[in-house]
């Protein structure tokens, strides 16, 4: 089972958020965008450890735009849960809360609203109350028992793994040791007790130890007299086996160092491992049916490699479990992770459908946060795999940017940022990522970024690729994208008019190909000199020289062939250095217009 949709209305940063989600949630967004509030909204419904008092919100929790408050002012948070039908225990708990039946979707709703029969407009905390109900029947209570069956645990951002581990009360080791005490049978306990007794005796009977013990007793007696002093003795450990087991601790480095000596990173890893074991134990013991484990900033203190390794395994149990048996896989499904993170390392190894992007925008002059995900982007499985691989390699750049320029290949990836810089737009500063789709199959990325998916501003720059006596190759490609983005619009049959119309959707066609367009837009020198510099073909050098002298004589196909021999990427790399060092600010219209379009959108 997993959370499949979250709706938040009028709560803190959120005016009206509605997002569909996948098995896990990896929540990405800038500081102060409301990641913690997002998790807190879920806690109101799912976390049994929240006290009744803190579960009741306050009027200051309304979204800024909700003031002044009226009789109708309501904070509403609802969580949809799907994929639980095959587990009869989960079905038993959720079946009465369904809002859809085939397949079943259960909905849990938290509502904070004015009490009925108020005499005046609600204005203070005591005028409001909350309720949590299931399904669409606001008389069907979601009880504490329910929250205990499928609880949400939160590991907050400012957790102190080290001190939690050494405090018995908070240690995640405690339930594990408690369970161990219950499992040991009496004869095992007896033989353990015997062994310990022997060891204790052996030490205790050493003359030196005895002597020290007596000295201590004497010292105490001399302080407060024989009547008030407690009897003391020197012992290794308590002799009661249950108590003994509860003193067990995790050691590192072959038992030579305790957790207190571990690095923050190791302590965090150990803490996490123990926490996960506890959750599994509770499910095995049938204390709960599912766990929602929320971790704020799971990257804290972890080396990037460790982050990638841990969370790749967590979030993709089937694909990436390293060094574990199939047994682990069997036990995993009853757990969903909810991570809020700034770490590109974690985001980049997350399954695409787990990503939830939080973004600030304004509504009615008030800041509000909206969310987007890819759950409804309509991506095919193979596209998903391609994009996940892309995110992995680029460290999730797409997930942390404000806008994207989609380009065809390596050449553009080098050249476009440089050209933009010359035009006065620093892409890094703007938070714009240039993403090469390695070819001309833009559609998966368009789906990903469009309003059906992550809903990020983006522009496409693609080559015209003219063909002798036929329509240019770009025509069908652009048509597909344009029609996807604006299916209701009737585009012109005239190619030039159509390309102009496509620009208002953010699709920009470079005349011929980028290199040729650069040549034609006033950079023949840079192009030809770069060819001369890099090519090993003498004839190519000659051709480059002649085209530089007489730009009209350019044989576009030949130039592309010559560049192809050098390697488009290598050529682009060198060319961009040349462009960067130059002062010329001319660029092809497609690039100029695309960057202007995108800057406008951001």
């Amino acid at each position: 089972m997993h959370i499949s949709r979250i709706q938040i209305r009028n709560f803190r940063n959120f005016h009206d958020l509605d997002v569909k989600t996948g098995k896990h949630l990896v929540i990405v967004g800038e500081n102060r965008v409301g990641k913690s509030n997002f998790l807190h909204a879920l806690r109101l419904i799912l976390d049994p450890s929240l006290s009744e008092r803190s579960r009741c919100l306050q009027i200051t929790d309304f979204w800024d735009g909700a003031y002044p408050l009226t009789d109708e002012s309501t904070i509403q948070i609802s969580v949809d849960i799907s994929d639980f039908e095959d587990d009869e225990k989960q079905l038993a708990v959720l079946s009465d809360y369904c809002v859809e039946h085939s397949p079943r979707v259960a909905r849990l709703t938290y509502e904070y609203s004015p009490k009925p029969d108020l005499e005046s407009t609600p204005s203070k905390d005591s005028d409001f109350d909350f309720q949590i109900y299931g399904g669409d029947d606001d008389t069907r209570e979601v009880t504490r028992e329910f929250r205990q069956r499928m609880p949400m645990d939160l590991l907050p951002a400012l957790r102190d793994a080290e001190s939690d581990l050494s405090s018995w009360r908070r240690s995640p080791l405690r339930p594990l040791l408690d369970a161990l005490c219950g499992e040991l049978d009496d004869s095992a306990k007896e033989s353990l007790a015997y062994a310990i007794e022997q060891a204790t005796k052996a030490i205790g009977e050493t003359d030196e130890v005895k002597e020290l013990g007596e000295q201590i007793s004497k010292a105490i007696v001399s302080l407060i007299g024989p009547n008030h002093s407690d009897e003391t003795s020197l012992q290794l450990v308590p002799s009661d086996v249950d108590r003994l087991i509860r003193t067990l601790k995790v050691f590192i480095d072959d038992g030579t160092r305790s957790i207190n000596d571990a690095s923050l990173g190791s302590a965090n890893v150990i803490y996490l491992a123990l926490k996960l074991l506890c959750l599994e134990l509770e499910i095995e013991d049938n204390v709960r049916d599912h766990s929602f484990l929320a971790i704020e900033e799971p990257e804290a203190h972890l080396h990037p490699h460790i982050q990638r390794r841990i969370f790749r395994a967590f979030l993709n149990p089937r694909k990436h479990l390293v060094g574990s048996t199939s047994d682990t896989k069997e036990r995993n499904p009853n757990r969903s992770l909810l991570l809020s993170t700034h770490s590109p390392h974690i985001a980049s190894v997350s399954p695409l459908n787990s990503i939830v992007l939080l973004r600030a925008t304004t509504r009615d002059d008030h800041r509000t946060t909206i969310a987007s995900s890819t759950a409804e982007a309509g991506l095919e499985q193979k596209d998903v795999e391609d994009i996940e691989r892309y995110l992995d390699v680029t460290r999730g750049e797409l997930l942390f940017c404000k806008g994207v320029l989609l380009v065809e290949g390596d050449a553009e990836e080098y050249l476009v940022p440089t050209l933009c810089k010359q035009l006065g737009h620093d892409l890094d500063e703007l938070g714009i990522a240039v993403c090469s789709v390695s070819g001309t199959n833009f559609m998966p990325y368009v789906k990903l970024l469009s309003s059906h998916g992550l809903d990020l501003p983006f522009a496409v720059i693609t080559d015209e690729d003219p063909q002798e006596g036929k329509d240019c190759l770009a025509l069908s490609r652009v048509k597909k994208i344009a029609e996807f983005l604006n299916p209701d619009y009737e585009y012109s049959d005239d190619v030039d008019v159509f390309f102009a119309e496509a620009e208002s959707e953010g699709i920009f066609v470079t005349e011929h190909t980028l290199e040729i367009a650069l040549f034609n837009c006033g950079r023949p020198k840079a192009i030809t000199r770069t060819v001369e510099e890099l090519t090993s073909v003498d004839a190519a050098k000659e051709r480059a020289k002649s085209w530089r002298k007489e730009t009209e004589s350019l044989d576009a196909e030949q130039l592309l062939k010559d560049i192809g021999k050098i390697g488009k990427g290598r050529f682009a790399q060198r060319l961009s250095t040349r462009v960067l060092n130059g002062t010329c600010t001319s660029a092809p219209d497609s690039v100029k217009n695309a960057i202007a379009f995108l800057v406008e959108q951001i």
Partner: protein, 603 residues
């Protein structure tokens, strides 16, 4: 770990092979349980075993039984063996099961055509719409009263509305029912039987409803199967026999011989058929822990069946016939001034509460009640002429009164369960804070009024205004209980028939050792008494003068059998030479069942 108390109870079952087989059963099982055979003990112990050993939380089980009273008794017995009602254990009537666990959660999801929120018609609203239905379909000259029972039973027996059987068997009833339901729906109402019928409809129609119920309640336990009729039987078929892997496990107990609700649609053969089904284990519980052997033998003679039931004791009981030349008054006077005093004097019984006077209808009940009042004997009356109907609310009020009387003594109902039951009267969602406040208010109110000699009127009034009316109205579906409360306040007020009652008297209505028990034969089902007095066993009363055909006499015969089998040590049967009706007095002798039994016993 302490041993769960039900295992102790199970030890008691072990010496009795038949009970033990039922307790140890796996899979679907039917226990055919003769009178006094420890049916409830088997059922409760088995229920505890299933919930402890076979079902893991959060899944649970559902146990349905005939009436709220039976459910109350089951809950009481289960509490004793350590099973407390919780969210995952349902114990209640078929109606409340269908309403709480089928109609309420799934009706809207299944697009069932009923108004939301669901409102249940009060008795008055039902009567009104029923009269309209009769007059709309058959014309204004018909007496709705004549049609009420037959058409409501018809509605419970022929369930397939699309079938010709429904349309043709009794056209009049079919039309009335359809019109009645239409009128209710137009007003956004459902009635009591709708809860069950709509629930059944949802279960039969939707896979997902059945699998939801199976997920929540993998075991389905039925008590008094023989009285629960076709709807329950079809519910059992749908949940336990039609969904392969997802069949709920069935454990049913009942006794076809004690089927006495045929007029309401019950059919004794359904349980027999079920017990003979493939894949259903069955056992007959023959050992009777209640009655002396000669009383058992007499009851089998009266039933005209040789069941071979054995008594657990060796002692012999008393069966006496008392004929009177005059009418019911004479019989009643004999019971009140001779029979009961002599039973007490001869120490046949220790308390009046060990004696029950059973009769056919409330009409006869009035005779015995008057005679007892005249003789100054305290009694407790359970039939429709009882001072007020026993509903969930009135029962709860009795509990409150008992709590006030006992000052928290051992026998008193737990305050916790009083508060819990109070909360259940209002299903409208409240915040925890409001709920706690309401509970506190109730407790304060009860604590203030714990003087047991306080007049009932005042106590009721305070409780009703401070804690009940608003609470019930907030629920939105409690119109009937609100009407019941108003009626109760009315009869407790200055001119009402129980105006002189105190809290103590009211709290005692749950029964005390000092109260002689008065009830109809129907109400006596499931109960047992040291001494049973069968009153007014006249010709024309049992079987009724209207039941003349042989096939109509089966049920009254079973009713007579039920009466006889309530007794542990003594049965007294009184009859007259005359029979009073509402309109005149007829000459008549003993009931044919009595005459027959007398003759056979003499042989």
């Amino acid at each position: 770990m302490p041993i769960p108390p039900y295992l102790d109870a199970a030890k008691d079952l072990e010496p009795n092979k038949e009970q033990w087989a039922a307790y140890q059963s796996e899979g679907n099982f039917v226990a055919l349980a003769g009178p006094g055979s420890g049916k409830t003990k088997v059922l409760t112990t088995k229920l505890a075993k299933i919930i402890h050993e076979d079902i893991e939380p959060p899944r649970g089980l559902a146990c349905v039984t005939y009436s709220n009273e039976c459910a109350r008794e089951l809950r009481r017995r289960l509490k004793k063996i350590g099973v407390s009602g919780s969210g995952r254990i349902f114990i209640g009537t078929v109606h409340s099961f269908c309403f709480q666990h089928i109609v309420r959660p799934y009706a809207r999801l299944a697009d069932l055509d009923i108004a939301w929120p669901i409102r249940v018609a009060t008795q008055n609203e039902q009567n009104e719409q029923f009269s309209n239905a009769v007059s709309n379909t058959l014309g204004p000259d018909q007496n709705p009263y004549d049609w009420r029972f037959p058409s409501m039973a018809y509605r419970r027996v022929y369930l397939d509305r699309g079938s010709t059987v429904w349309k043709k068997t009794d056209k009049g009833c079919a039309n009335i029912v359809e019109e009645y339901e239409r009128l209710l729906r137009n007003r956004g109402l459902i009635d009591f039987d709708d809860m069950m019928l709509l629930g059944l409809q949802l279960v039969k129609k939707h896979d997902w409803v059945r699998s939801s119920i199976h997920a929540k309640f993998p075991a389905f336990i039925v008590d008094e199967y023989q009285d629960l009729g076709v709807p329950l039987h079809e519910l059992v078929m749908a949940l336990c026999f039609s969904q392969g892997e997802k069949n709920c496990r069935l454990f049913a107990v009942g006794d076809p011989d004690q089927s006495i609700y045929g007029f309401a649609g019950a059919q004794p053969n359904l349980l027999q058929e079920l017990s003979k089904r493939n894949g259903v284990g069955t056992e007959t519980l023959r050992l009777n822990y209640r009655s002396r052997q000669n009383i058992i033998d007499a009851s089998e003679l009266a039933l005209l069946e040789d069941r071979g039931y054995r008594s657990a004791t060796k002692e012999t009981g008393v069966i006496e016939f008392h004929g009177f030349p005059e009418g019911l008054k004479q019989q009643a006077a004999f019971i009140a001034s001779k029979l009961v005093p002599s039973l007490l004097k001869n120490e046949v019984v220790e308390n009046r509460g060990d004696i029950a006077v059973l009769y056919c209808t409330k009409y006869e009940g009035d005779f015995i009640a008057d005679a007892l009042s005249e003789a100054g004997t305290e009694y407790l009356r359970i039939d429709n002429n009882a001072a007020y109907p026993k509903t969930i609310l009135t029962r709860w009020l009795e509990d409150c009164a008992q709590w006030c009387m006992s000052n928290g003594g051992n026998e008193a109902p737990l305050l916790r369960s009083i508060i819990n039951d109070y909360r259940k009267l209002n299903n409208k969602l409240q915040s925890e804070r409001d709920r706690i406040e309401a509970g506190q208010k109730l407790v304060r109110c009860l604590m203030r009024h714990n003087n047991t000699n306080e007049p009932l009127q005042k106590w009721l009034h305070t409780l009703a205004t401070e804690c009940l009316f608003e609470h019930l109205r907030a629920d939105g579906t409690q119109d009937q209980e609100i009407a019941n409360l108003e009626a109760l306040l009315e009869i407790a007020s200055d001119d009402g028939k129980i105006s002189d009652w105190t809290i103590e008297r009211f709290g005692g209505q749950g029964g005390t050792p000092e109260h002689l028990n008065l009830m109809t034969l129907h109400s006596s089902k499931g109960l047992e008494f040291e001494v049973v007095i069968l009153f007014a066993m006249n010709d024309g009363i049992i079987p009724s003068y209207r039941q003349t055909k042989p096939e109509q006499k089966h049920e009254p015969r079973r009713l007579f059998y039920v009466g006889l089998t309530r007794a542990k040590t003594e049965v007294h049967i009184t009859y007259s030479g005359k029979r009073e009706t509402r309109y005149r007095t007829r000459t008549s002798g003993p009931s044919e069942f009595v005459a027959e039994l007398k003759e056979r016993l003499e042989k």
